[in-house]
């Protein structure tokens, strides 16, 4: 991917609503990163490097298995273009999940140091980026709410209904 193609993608996902100058300010603070298929881009629990814009390729978000024998639990498969590591960028806590390149991937990294430098300088561009990230997070939170409702319905009521139905059937269908 050429630098101009990369800037176009970054503009789309991270710099919507930014002026030309503001976009340039963000782009200048970013560095390109490449990952081969299978490479762990960042690990759950590690200190975050910063915000990653996935320019090209597909990644898997996963939680590592607890025991040696356990299998990793894949939370999501994400295709370019998108942003990754936004939670760690804002909380400055360790990564909450790991990311593995499912295909060869190209990223653009906005390091935590660079981002905080921009915030200290009261860069409007950086604040606009935060607004965009807030929107991304809000959408993800909404999806999680829906998922949570679905899971809690399944885990709580289904077996109870099933058991009640079976108890009933013992006296109707299975009484001879």
């Amino acid at each position: 991917m050429t630098p101009s193609e990369a800037s176009k993608v970054i503009r789309g996902v991270l710099c919507r609503g930014l002026s030309y100058e503001q976009t340039e300010q963000i782009l200048k603070a970013m560095v390109p990163v490449k990952a081969e298929t299978g490479l762990i881009v960042f690990k759950e629990g590690e200190r975050p490097q910063g915000l990653m814009v996935l320019l090209e390729g597909t990644v898997e978000v996963f939680k590592q298995a607890s025991g040696k024998k356990g299998r990793d639990e894949v939370l999501a498969t994400i295709e370019a273009p998108t942003v990754l590591g936004e939670i760690s960028l804002l909380t400055e806590g360790p990564h909450t999940a790991s990311i593995r390149a499912k295909t060869a991937c190209e990223f653009s990294l906005l390091t935590t140091t660079q981002f905080h430098r921009l915030l200290r300088e009261e860069s409007l561009a950086a604040y606009k980026v935060i607004a965009i990230l807030a929107e991304v997070l809000a959408r993800r939170l909404h999806r999680m709410d829906e998922k949570f409702v679905e899971v809690s319905r399944k885990s709580a009521s289904a077996p109870v209904e099933e058991l009640t139905a079976f108890k009933q059937k013992l006296f109707t269908d299975w009484s001879f």
Binding site: P159, E162, L163, F166, K167, K169, L170, F171, D173, W174, S175, F176
Partner: protein
């Protein structure tokens, strides 16, 4: 497959038909209590002998638990659990107010003197007396245990809990045993066969041909009752081999010969036949009445009998059972066929509780009623649900145990 896996195989098959959830299935399979005890005695030579005793109590929702005690080197928790759960389903199929249990001691009783056997039995009772009892768990004879062993159990238990003949069944008739108990399993198997023949429009026992593998308590009594009803028993066998006469064996004389010689082999007027070949005879009814696992993948395709009467426990492996069902050979399942033994055990217990002795005619008539009623229910399930008799038996049993469990509250 272990005993437990085999029982569970048939249980799960019925569970699938009934659409049981995994949670309900787990609850029904899990035993109520498993006990493992040290049974140490002083041997005749003054040395210390330590043996391990087991009692697994599977389910008590329908009443006190019931099941045999066996003295055999292979006894362990897994085997006892499989057989204990089988007792739960078996007592439910014939609708006795009992749950299921099983146990025993890991020992080869042939290596013990009569004195050692008695001390071992009494010690075992001392170790498990708190978990057995007329209203809790009632042992019975099984492999290598007999009426004398039951008499010792009753005596030892009564020392600790007061006069309690109802703590065990299968006692000697002279010590609160029931008339008709010894022949009950064989008699019950023949009643089961008669019910099936009537229902299937295949007439009666008279004129039909039989091959019986095993000539112990179950096989010899079954042979006698079939013979009395005009059935032609053309082959029987024991551990030493078998005898065959296509014209039919004279069973009363064969029983006398067996008592005298301790084997059926060498019976005058018969040809020898191996245990394996006996299973393949072209008879109307094949009666496996000895070991488990004799009808297998290996010989099932060569079987020529039209009907199999499972007087023994688990004579047919699950794979062979599938093959027989596919071929349209009817299998009268062990869980129903050999329930006559535990049914008359129930009558013995009832007589002990009542302190009232029944005449043999009453015992036999009640046994026939239980076998007939149980068959009528199974036949209904087979017709309505299009399943085999074995699956029907498990469905009926699971239904009864399930309802009792639910009504008591889970």
């Amino acid at each position: 497959m272990s005993g437990f896996e085999e029982v569970n195989y048939y249980f799960r098959k019925a569970a699938r038909v009934m659409d049981l959830s995994t949670a309900v299935e787990r609850m029904l399979v899990t035993p109520y209590r498993e006990v493992k005890v040290d049974v140490s005695i002083t041997m005749d030579n003054g040395e210390l002998g330590t043996f391990i005793g087991y009692r697994v109590q599977h389910d008590r929702s329908r009443g006190p638990m019931k099941g045999g005690l066996r003295y055999h080197p292979t006894v362990d928790l897994d085997e006892a659990l499989g057989l204990a759960s089988l007792m739960t389903w078996k007592t439910a199929v014939v609708n006795l107010p009992f749950g299921g249990a099983k146990g025993g001691i890991a020992v080869d009783p042939n290596t013990l003197s009569p004195g050692e056997l008695e001390r071992l039995t009494r010690k075992f009772v001392q170790q498990i007396h708190e978990i057995i009892g007329p209203q809790t768990d009632i042992p019975a004879p099984d492999v290598n245990t007999n009426a004398q062993v039951m008499a010792w159990i009753m005596d030892e238990y009564s020392k600790m809990h007061g006069f309690s003949p109802a703590v065990v069944t299968g006692k000697p008739v002279d010590l609160f045993g029931s008339r008709g108990r010894e022949e009950a399993t064989g008699r019950g198997a023949v009643f089961a066969l008669e019910e099936y023949l009537k229902d299937a429009g295949q007439g009666e026992v008279r004129g039909k041909t039989f091959a019986i593998q095993g000539f112990g308590n179950v096989g010899s009594w079954a042979a006698r009752f079939l013979h009395e009803r005009g059935g032609k028993v053309i082959a029987v066998s024991d551990v030493k081999g078998g005898v065959h006469n296509p014209e039919g064996l004279d069973i009363p004389r064969l029983i006398a010969h067996q008592k005298d010689q301790n084997t059926v082999t060498g019976f005058p007027g018969s040809d020898p036949i191996s245990n394996d070949d006996l299973l393949l005879l072209p008879v109307d009814v094949l009666v496996p009445a000895a070991l488990g696992g004799v009808i297998t993948d290996a010989n099932v395709k060569d079987l020529r009998a039209k009907l199999i009467l499972e007087a023994a426990n688990a004579p047919t492996t699950p794979q062979a059972d599938e093959a027989l069902v596919k071929r349209g050979v009817t299998v009268l399942p062990d869980i129903y066929v050999n329930a006559g033994g535990v049914t008359v055990s129930y009558f013995e217990w009832a007589q002990n509780i009542q302190q009232f002795t029944w005449e043999e005619d009453k015992v036999n008539a009640e046994l026939q009623r239980h076998m007939r009623d149980a068959y009528a229910t199974l036949a209904r399930v087979v017709r309505e649900r299009k399943v085999s008799l074995r699956t029907a038996a498990f469905i009926v049993a699971i239904g009864r145990v399930g309802r009792a469990t639910v009504l008591r509250g889970v």
